[in-house]
């Protein structure tokens, strides 16, 4: 089947328009907002940022009788290690996002939208500014869009380089000009979000799927993928594969198909050891589990992991799991916002223990301590960053305990070399 999101060629406005772009917007503006939400609900579209929350349902949480402004925010703060799909989507098909946002804004009654883009994505931010400018010139964005009387202004806001700002409420804080730290929920953003107004926050990939749903209808979209995980998903494959990159495939595709058909298999001489299926925060799968798994929300949950952001990190036999976990721990330690006690203190502690284990100065007891710290962090914080640290720790230790024990027993691997066997 054809790709919905990622086209082969880079789509600027004329190209996008020629391929039928902005027709869905015109169609949407002729519908009632409630009907659009209904259509999106029917499509079964779920949040592509990681949590997989049903998009139509999220939109319907905006209080009907809310006075004052409402906001639509696109989360383009793509920071999850192993994930690089939103960047690709913005580079190749920016107007799908812009059009998707215009439709979503109309559906929820927002007249202002923000694209909060990761600070490092300077070029992508500039590209978006340029394309929004073109879209505005054609009347797809701005006042009285396509003569419908609906106004929607869209702004690009560059982040300042904090992973935590990918968490939606930290993102809102950052957008408001504060230090990005997750907020207590409730109130949820749909009730009290940006500038204390009702706000919907969606991932780039989610919003970019909206025009196709309006064009083809919710039922058409729902027919793609599996009954509960509908539509296509961008998978970002990294690691020792022949063709790493971003691939758009229907949800429910097997990992085997993704790896062997799309990515051309593992590099010569490499054997699969493990896979992190949905970005670095999701629990790792062993090779055996990975070969059997389908890539959709339910199948991965059953396998004990998550679809997450679709960042598929392929790990081969040459890699040291302790070293890998140490790298992850350094990342989460650095990126914890420092607000909640368990995350602030736990991430650093985990990194310290892993540093010791990795260079052969750890003990077996340390391994158990690692797990118990991770358990002490799970589900005890305002946002899921602590869980994002805890899940890899628990799954790495559980599934690759032998490697951790080998390190503790002194058979450590010297820096940057595979573990001795």
């Amino acid at each position: 089947m054809d790709n919905i999101l990622l086209k082969d060629k880079v789509c600027d406005l004329p190209g996008y328009f020629a391929a039928g772009g902005y027709k869905p917007l015109k169609k949407a503006l002729g519908l009632k907002p409630a009907d659009i939400i209904e259509e999106v609900k029917k499509s079964g579209l779920r949040g592509r940022g990681g949590a997989g929350f049903p998009t139509g349902l999220k939109w319907s949480f905006i209080p009907k009788d809310a006075k004052g402004p409402r906001y639509l925010v696109c989360n383009a703060d793509e920071g999850e290690p192993g994930t690089f799909k939103d960047r690709e989507l913005i580079l190749k098909n920016p107007h799908a996002l812009i059009e998707g946002m215009a439709i979503a804004a109309y559906a929820i009654g927002a007249e202002t939208g923000y694209i909060y883009i990761r600070g490092e994505f300077a070029a992508e931010g500039a590209l978006l500014e340029r394309e929004i400018f073109s879209a505005r010139a054609k009347g797809f964005i701005g006042a009285n869009i396509l003569g419908s009387g609906f106004n929607f202004e869209l702004h690009v806001h560059r982040g300042a380089g904090a992973y935590i700002c990918g968490e939606e409420t930290a993102l809102l804080d950052s957008l408001e000009g504060f230090k990005g730290q997750p907020r207590l929920k409730p109130p949820f953003p749909a009730v009290k979000g940006l500038f204390a107004s009702p706000t919907v926050i969606n991932n780039v990939e989610t919003l970019a799927a909206v025009p196709a749903i309006i064009a083809g209808g919710g039922e058409w979209y729902a027919a793609i993928g599996t009954p509960k995980s509908t539509g296509t998903k961008l998978f970002c494959v990294s690691g020792p594969v022949n063709k790493p990159g971003v691939y758009e495939l229907p949800l429910g595709v097997t990992f085997r198909d993704l790896l062997e058909q799309s990515c051309g298999g593992l590099k010569e001489g490499k054997r699969l050891k493990a896979v992190i299926p949905g970005g670095s925060s999701t629990p790792v799968l062993t090779a055996e589990e990975a070969w059997a798994v389908k890539l959709d929300y339910e199948a991965l949950a059953t396998a004990g992991s998550m679809l997450g952001s679709g960042g598929v990190i392929v790990i081969d036999e040459g890699q040291c799991m302790v070293k890998l976990l140490q790298v992850l721990a350094r990342f989460y330690h650095h990126e914890s916002c420092g607000q909640c006690t368990p995350c602030r203190e736990g991430c650093g502690w985990i990194e310290k223990i892993l540093n010791r284990l990795e260079c052969g100065r750890g003990t077996r007891k340390d391994i158990d301590t690692l797990v118990s710290i991770a358990e002490g962090m799970t589900g005890r914080t305002i946002c899921p960053l602590a869980d994002a640290m805890a899940m890899p720790v628990i799954s790495f230790v559980k599934k690759f305990r032998a490697e951790f024990e080998a390190h503790a027993a002194g058979k450590y691997c010297p820096p940057d070399a595979p573990v001795k066997r």
Binding site: L184, E335, G338, R344, E345, G348, I353, R380
Partner: protein, 490 residues
């Protein structure tokens, strides 16, 4: 109204009540660090996690609103484990400063460790996170970032109560720390409250640092006499020395205590404390000073003026009224009409004196001149000798200067004596003697002695009593309450 069940006890609470507050009403204590009843809810310390039926995760009691039919457990194994874990996280990077930390004995970490954890440290092999220590921030506070648990009470206090927003959390993760914002200094008038609300030893008072262990301190209820607000306070003292004043939160007047008010106790122990009388600039014993003052009063006869004081208690003003009556002078004044009301939006009153309302009670019974008229009589020379408490004398200093009238004054500290005073008689401060004050709202504050006065220094009413005796007016006062005769109808 939602009905909530906590640990098997059910209660109906007002809508908007948090689980933590509801538990408090039921007598169930939920440990907390970041929560403070007078600050916004932050939910960051995670100490107050409780189990709520049907909720998949533990919830923070401080930020969860009580809902109808909600069933909460604060004593389940899950909750106990969570508390132990959070405490362990808080303690791993906490320095072992307790032996030299002023907070020891009233420290949230020590207390909760004993109550909820008692676990052995598993953090032996790692280096603790190092942060700056002993940072003098502002005139009253020292910050130890290493002891800080980042509950952000101080940050919220400065942004929500004083609205000065000097503080913020810098950086991220376990390298985050509390600091002043660039170019700011922590010099608002309420900074010592930060040391009070800091649950650990991160913020300590420069005044109190290393002065005493808190478990030696005895607590006496007092009121602050720094202005007409008359905040309720608590004097912490030991072996006749006062160490600090802390607020005694109450619904009517104050939750906090301002820095200036907290420092009022210092005068009691100051180097310029008067233990003897002063004639011109020379110190002499009380008896000859009294005799000298009495002689001058006799000299002036009916040209004596008696000025009450809004810095004296009701009883002591009444004693002065009795003295004036005994001297048969019509020149007396208990009239101090200051503008009252909160000047800074928090506690400091427009009226700098603590008892204008109390003096007015004396005026209501005894009458007397208005302050303006009294001053005019001093300026015109009709009053030749003025008898006044030192700070009250300051109110008519221009008139005194104009006429050169002789001033016989009463003071606790040498620094209070107005320039040109002829004789000064010492008296005991209100930390050393009983007295009643009336704040601007009309609430009475009955003060009891906390420490003993310097040797030979008597309460104000006793000094008046003696001065009367030497000038032939027998007041027969045996106690402050005796002076209240001055408030009886003639």
């Amino acid at each position: 109204m939602p009905k909530i069940t906590i640990d098997g006890k059910t209660l109906e609470v007002a809508k908007g009540t948090s689980v933590l507050e509801a538990a408090q009403l039921l007598g169930v204590y939920i440990p907390r660090y970041c929560y403070h009843p007078k600050l916004s809810v932050s939910g960051n310390c995670r100490m107050c996690l409780v189990e709520v039926e049907k909720a998949p995760k533990l919830l923070t009691a401080c930020s969860t609103e009580a809902a109808d039919g909600m069933v909460v457990r604060t004593d389940s194994d899950k909750v106990k484990t969570a508390r132990r874990d959070v405490l362990e996280f808080l303690l791993i990077n906490h320095p072992l400063d307790c032996p030299i930390c002023d907070q020891a004995g009233e420290c949230g970490l020590q207390d909760y460790y004993m109550d909820y954890s008692r676990a052995k440290s598993r953090f032996a092999a790692e280096d603790k996170v190092r942060r700056q220590k002993r940072r003098v921030l502002g005139p009253h506070l020292v910050l130890d970032n290493e002891r800080c648990i980042l509950c952000t009470r101080c940050v919220r206090f400065c942004s929500e109560v004083t609205k000065t927003s000097e503080l913020d959390v810098m950086e991220r993760a376990d390298h985050s720390y509390i600091d002043l914002k660039e170019g700011r200094s922590l010099d608002n008038n309420y900074t010592l409250n930060i040391a009070d609300i800091c649950p650990v030893g991160a913020w300590t008072s420069r005044d109190f640092r290393f002065k005493s262990r808190v478990w030696f301190l005895k607590k006496a209820p007092v009121a602050c006499l720094g202005c007409a607000t008359g905040c309720l306070a608590e004097a912490h003292h030991n072996e006749n020395v006062i160490y600090r004043l802390l607020p005694r939160p109450n619904a009517e007047t104050n939750t906090w205590l301002c820095d200036r008010g907290r420092m009022t106790y210092k005068a009691v122990q100051a180097g310029d404390r008067l233990a003897k009388g002063v004639i011109k600039n020379g110190l002499i014993d009380l008896e000859p000073a009294l005799r000298e003052a009495a002689t001058r009063i006799d000299e002036a006869k009916a040209a004596v003026g008696v000025l009450g004081s809004p810095w004296l208690s009701v009883e002591d003003n009444a004693a002065l009224a009795l003295l004036a009556a005994g001297m048969k002078t019509a020149n007396f004044c208990f009239d101090f009409k200051f503008e009252t009301g909160i000047a800074d939006g928090i506690l400091v009153n427009k009226d700098p004196s603590p008892n204008a309302a109390g003096a007015a009670r004396v005026k209501a019974v005894r009458g007397g001149l208005e302050l303006q008229a009294f001053a005019a009589k001093v300026a015109s020379g009709e009053i030749k000798t003025v008898l006044a408490e030192a700070r009250a004398a300051g109110l008519i200093k221009d008139a005194l200067k104009t006429s050169g009238a002789r001033l016989i004054t009463f003071a606790t500290n040498k620094g209070d004596i107005p320039a040109g005073a002829y004789a000064t008689l010492p008296y005991a401060s209100y930390f050393e003697t009983a007295g009643t004050f009336v704040n601007y709202q009309g609430f009475e504050r009955r003060l009891e002695p906390v420490v003993a006065a310097p040797e030979g220094v008597k309460p104000f009413w006793a000094v008046v009593n003696k001065l009367g005796a030497y000038s032939g007016v027998l007041l027969r006062l045996d106690s402050a309450d005796d002076a209240m005769r001055g408030l009886e109808k003639k």
